[in-house]
Amino acid sequence: MSIFNKKSEGQAIQQEASSTHQVDDALLHAVRSILVGQEREQLEALDRKFQIWQREISASEEATQIRFSNIISEIQALKESAEKTNYQTQSNASALRGLERNNSNAEEELAERLTPMMAGLIKKTLQDAPQDMAETLGPLIGLALRQQVRTQKKDIVDTLYPVIGETITKAVSEAINELIRNLDRRMRKRSPAERITAQLQGISAGELFFRDTLPYQIEYVFIIHRHSGLLLAQTSTNRELRDDLDLISGMLTAIRDFAQDSLGEGGELNEIKYGEQLILLQTSQDIYVAAVLSGTIPQGYNALLRLVVSEINVKYEQVFRDFDGNMDNIPSLENDLRPLLYPYDILKPTEISSKQKKTVFTILVALLLLLSFFIFSCIFTIRLWPYAFPQATPTATYIPTQTPMPTLTFTLEPTITENPTDTPFPTQTLRPDQGVAVGNVNIRSGPGIENPVLDILYEGERFIILDQDNGWLYLRREVANKPNIEGWVNSLWIDHK
């Protein structure tokens, strides 16, 4: 019971203390409120603010943290993306290399496959569409050729020479053959009179033949009104008339006028040469004639041109002067122009000049002299014939032969003429053992040049052959006033039977 009492007592004490304490606290609180209430409130406000700031900072930190995390995440993502891109790039590069390799391989494969087909394809295209092929390849081939000629000129020349050289040779050969045939034909046709004609023209016969033989072609002849340059008439060897000759006539006139205005009125434009073609111009009072020809101008053609244009102008003088462009008023001039198209029908030496007359006179005098000499020779021969040849029986004459070693039939003991004549008579018949020297030759003591010379057997001296030895003859000279010396001579210098 006591315990309970004590306990209750304690509790009471505690309660009492507690109430006391509460009173104290209240007092304290009141005091505090009186003393530091305002500051306390300020502190509390500051504390609240601090807490708010703390929360804000905390929130900001969190937000920053979150943002930073996000950034990190983004960087990470970017890094990963970059790595992926890098990887992709590498993969692509690898793939590209692979593709390139494949492409190269494919091209090589394609080329390998196409190469055997190309020849066939080209051949087929050439067969199917040769014109297209030519049009396509033509410019390229031309360009390539030009390039090659520029850079590899020597090689091209070396390559083409066998072909072109042969072609040129063949063409030249054919042309020369044709020329020779023409020359030959014409030479055969020419009479001596025509040869003289050539001489009269002041040129050699060969030159005349050559001129006649050289190919030429008179293509067109046309008459142009000198004042206006209008075409009046035209003609052609092939009968094909050009429809642009009126323009050509005008241009020719313009060129003539241009030349005259530029170089002076004194001259005339007589010819225009272009390659193998030549335009000959011959002017008259109211007209001029243009002849277009190729090749060599026939001899005398210019003179013929001058003559024809002059005649035409005189013949139709009034027509040309009154010409107003009406072609009905122009007569047909074809016949008048014909001589210019076919000049060889007409071209003959017309008038003989003084020089030509001298030539004719000289030839005639020469012929006369030749004739006189011939007649004199004949008379002289006839008169002297009996004296020159009194008997018809000719004497036998010695005819030397070239045979060095004839078959010797002489005897070693010849019959010597009892009374030899002093001088040799070549016309007399030689015996087999006789001979005559055809040149000066040494008489030696033995058969050989090593033997000493005894004397000289002169040309024409006679001798008797006594022996022979290997091309050498042992003989005895028999000439008047000379000792009959015996010795060896070389048979080369001896004529004997």
Binding site: L230, D246, L247, F258, D324, N326
Partner: protein, 169 residues
């Protein structure tokens, strides 16, 4: 039977008034334009059938005009039976130059029919010459017919040649 008249006509005017362009469309050409710059002339042909019985073959001498020189080569004008004087509607000075060409022509081939042409009518924005001015010049030079043309569109070109052909003797 058709009568063929051959006539030489000359085309005169300053450089670049369009003489060559005028004839390029309607004539038979054989020679290229470079002759103009070399010997100063290019010849073309224009055939016009005046009626079933008459055809005029006009040999047109296109003479190189120059503002630098006094005119054209006089010998080229010899034998001309007609002429076309050409000016540029966009350049008034080319109209005045026609006096010079007319004078040259008159000295060599007097009393021949002449047509005056104001060319480049298509350049409407740049035209500086009126028809009245051209008419006045035509009256002054005693030219009986004048017209405006355009070599570009072809307007009046055929008419110019036809009118000249009609007036040729």
């Amino acid at each position: 039977m058709t009568t063929i008249l051959q006539k030489k006509i000359c085309l005169l005017g300053d450089f670049s008034v369009g003489k060559t362009s005028l004839i390029e469309r309607y004539v038979y050409d054989r020679f290229s334009g470079r002759y103009l710059s070399t010997i100063g002339v290019k010849i073309s042909r224009k055939s016009i059938e005046l009626n079933p019985d008459t055809t005029v073959n006009m040999l047109i001498w296109d003479l190189a005009g120059s503002e630098e020189f006094s005119g054209v080569q006089a010998s080229y004008l010899q034998g001309a039976k007609g002429a076309i004087l050409v000016c540029d509607l966009t350049r008034p000075e080319t109209l005045n130059s026609l006096k010079k060409y007319h004078s040259q022509l008159n000295a060599v081939s007097p009393n021949i029919p002449i047509i005056m042409v104001g060319n480049k009518e298509d350049l409407t924005e740049s035209i500086q010459l009126t028809k009245a001015q051209i008419h006045e010049q035509a009256m002054l030079l005693n030219v009986t017919y004048e017209l405006t043309t355009s070599a570009k569109t072809g307007k009046g070109v055929e008419e110019a040649f036809y009118e000249l052909a009609r007036r040729l003797d």
